[in-house]
């Protein structure tokens, strides 16, 4: 578990994401560990696909390729969450989750948190950029992709540095 609670958006103790037993999403989670956002892209029909599946939903080619995608998107929807549905959030107060669409990846959508003041005004359509959030000390270690408004600063920043390649391979 993280010893630096201020380095992550939400407190430690929430469920840890892992790939399925058949490893369908393993390239996605491994990518986040290495500061890379990976999304499936069909080389035959150029369809983007997220979440992952064993075949392209458009042309039925198996095992769509995983390609790296730029860390920018647009807020498609949002919610400010007040009620703690987990004991780790009991004293935490409100936080914001956003649904971000990625125009450069066929408009696929991803859920993350919107960094910054939980009471900020959230605008659907606002431009956001991705920020990796590494949980090195969790067991097993994992990484998330968070978002922040581009107006707040345009330089990509890691909340925690990425693990070395050797470390992340295990």
């Amino acid at each position: 578990m993280s010893t630096k609670p201020s380095s992550t958006y939400l407190p430690a103790g929430l469920p840890i994401p892992v790939a399925e037993a058949d490893d369908l999403s393993a390239p996605y989670w491994a990518g986040l560990r290495q500061n890379r956002l990976m999304v499936q892209h069909c080389t035959r029909c150029q369809t983007w696909q997220f979440g992952p599946e064993w075949l392209c939903h458009r042309c039925h080619t198996f095992d769509p390729q995983w390609v790296e995608v730029e860390l920018r998107g647009r807020i498609f929807s949002w919610e400010r969450i007040w009620h703690p549905s987990h004991s780790a959030l009991r004293q935490h107060g409100p936080y914001v989750a956003v649904l971000v669409e990625l125009p450069q990846a066929g408009g696929v959508r991803m859920v993350g948190n919107l960094l910054g003041d939980a009471m900020q005004v959230v605008v659907i359509g606002a431009e956001v950029e991705g920020v990796f959030e590494h949980h090195h000390d969790a067991d097993p270690p994992y990484s998330l992709l968070q978002w922040r408004c581009r107006e707040a600063g345009r330089n990509s920043v890691d909340i925690n540095p990425a693990p070395s390649f050797e470390e992340s391979r295990t």
């Binding site: 840890i16 549905s85 959508r109």
Partner: protein, 395 residues
């Protein structure tokens, strides 16, 4: 034969309904399986049927009260149908009735009990998620970000719909007020004697914006059941038979694309399912006298009613006013027992019983136009399902 010529319309009838006492989660003195047995026996009593004549069970949402155990416990003479509707949480409540009807029309069974038994106090509340170490699949993309329980999983869908169509918070509030209004006349309701008004709603805490506390369903313990038989036998029981006029199940193109990647995101998943229902029933929204619509969250009701053609999304603010939604004379009386918000979260099955009561004429908030009653199950999930019930005169 084309699908449009194969139909459940008028082929089966609901001839018995029954439920246990409805309790707050953790308050039921009975184990969940015992609740199922009690609801089924109450249903047979209502119909005037020897429970040993049941030859099929249908349920949904992976109900733990398994068909073969029920058949053994009740000593039914034989088992002919045991159907479980895949996935979708409460989206299967009407589908379970459709599956029972299909079993009967297809000649597999004669006398099918459809039920849901759910004691959240005994097996875990839907609204709490503590105790999970690692997670994979859809929830892995959500839970680490604090998108844990159903309110958080559905709030962004509703927010997007409100954004696209200019729907205001007051429209959601009217749906909560209608359920609580009707619960005050219903002694079975968990919220009986606990009225809600606009000021109390507005002052209630946020769960996940745009959902206040009163936009969210309860978490309860109980069981409910109904009995379906072929139309030839419909007149052999104690009460006026209530016929299945139509049913539909499913969802549209890639509704199941996780996480939150369904192409038609701001939707209750009825874009294809509502037209299927009306086609089988041979009628339209103007013919429906009363609606029971599954309220996991009020915002899902707004979308579901629009997708069933009762108003256009842009008309939601005007249509969804309390006076339009209450029995006996509202334009569209809604959730007349109190529903998931205020009667009992019986995973939508209480809505089916209420629709039967409306057609029978025995609701605690009886409507005048009760010849055709609609039930809508599980907005925003997949698969969803819906049902039209009707009196014999309507056939």
């Amino acid at each position: 034969m084309a699908r449009a010529d194969r139909t459940l319309r008028g082929r089966v009838a609901v001839v018995g309904i029954g439920e246990t006492e409805y309790d707050r989660h953790g308050a039921s003195p009975d184990p969940e399986f015992k609740l199922a047995l009690k609801a089924i026996l109450a249903t047979c009593e209502d119909a005037g049927l020897d429970p040993r004549e049941i030859d099929g069970f249908a349920s949904y949402s992976d109900d733990r009260s398994e068909a073969s155990r029920l058949a053994a416990a009740l000593g039914t003479r034989r088992l002919r149908a045991a159907t479980m509707q895949w996935g979708g949480g409460g989206g299967g409540c009407c589908a379970a009735v459709a599956n029972a009807a299909a079993s009967i029309v297809g000649g597999l069974a004669d006398c099918v009990v459809v039920f849901r038994s759910l004691a959240q106090g005994q097996y875990g509340r839907f609204g709490q998620t503590t105790g999970i170490d690692t997670i994979s699949g859809e929830k892995a993309y959500l839970m680490p970000y604090g998108v844990l329980a159903p309110p958080q999983r559905f709030a962004m869908r509703v927010r997007r719909y409100m954004h696209e169509h200019g729907v205001r918070q007051e429209a959601l509030r009217a749906i909560a007020l209608a359920s609580y209004h009707h619960a005050q006349a219903n002694p079975r309701a968990v919220m009986y004697g606990k009225p809600l008004d606009a000021a109390k709603y507005d002052a209630s805490r946020w769960i996940a914006e745009p959902f206040h506390l009163y936009d969210c369903c309860m978490e309860n313990d109980g069981a409910a059941a109904l009995l379906v038989v072929a139309e030839e036998r419909a007149g052999d029981f104690r009460h006026k038979p209530v016929y299945v006029l139509g049913a539909a199940v499913g969802s549209g193109y890639r509704t199941g694309a996780i996480p939150h990647n369904s192409p038609l995101y701001a939707s209750a998943s009825f874009d294809t399912v509502a037209p299927d229902l009306y086609r089988m029933a041979g009628l339209g929204p103007a013919d429906v006298g009363v609606v029971q619509c599954y309220e996991n969250f009020t915002g899902g009701v707004v979308m579901a009613l629009a997708e069933h053609g009762f108003f256009k999304p842009e008309e939601a603010n005007d249509f969804l006013r309390l006076e339009n939604l209450v029995a006996p004379f509202g334009r569209l009386p809604l959730n007349t027992s109190g529903g998931n918000l205020a009667e009992c979260y019986m995973h939508g099955f209480e809505l089916l019983l209420e629709a039967v009561r409306q057609v029978r004429g025995t609701s605690t908030s009886q409507v005048k136009r009760n010849d055709v009653a609609m039930v809508i199950g599980g907005p925003m999930v997949t698969p969803v399902s819906n049902l039209l019930l009707a009196s014999e005169e309507t056939l």
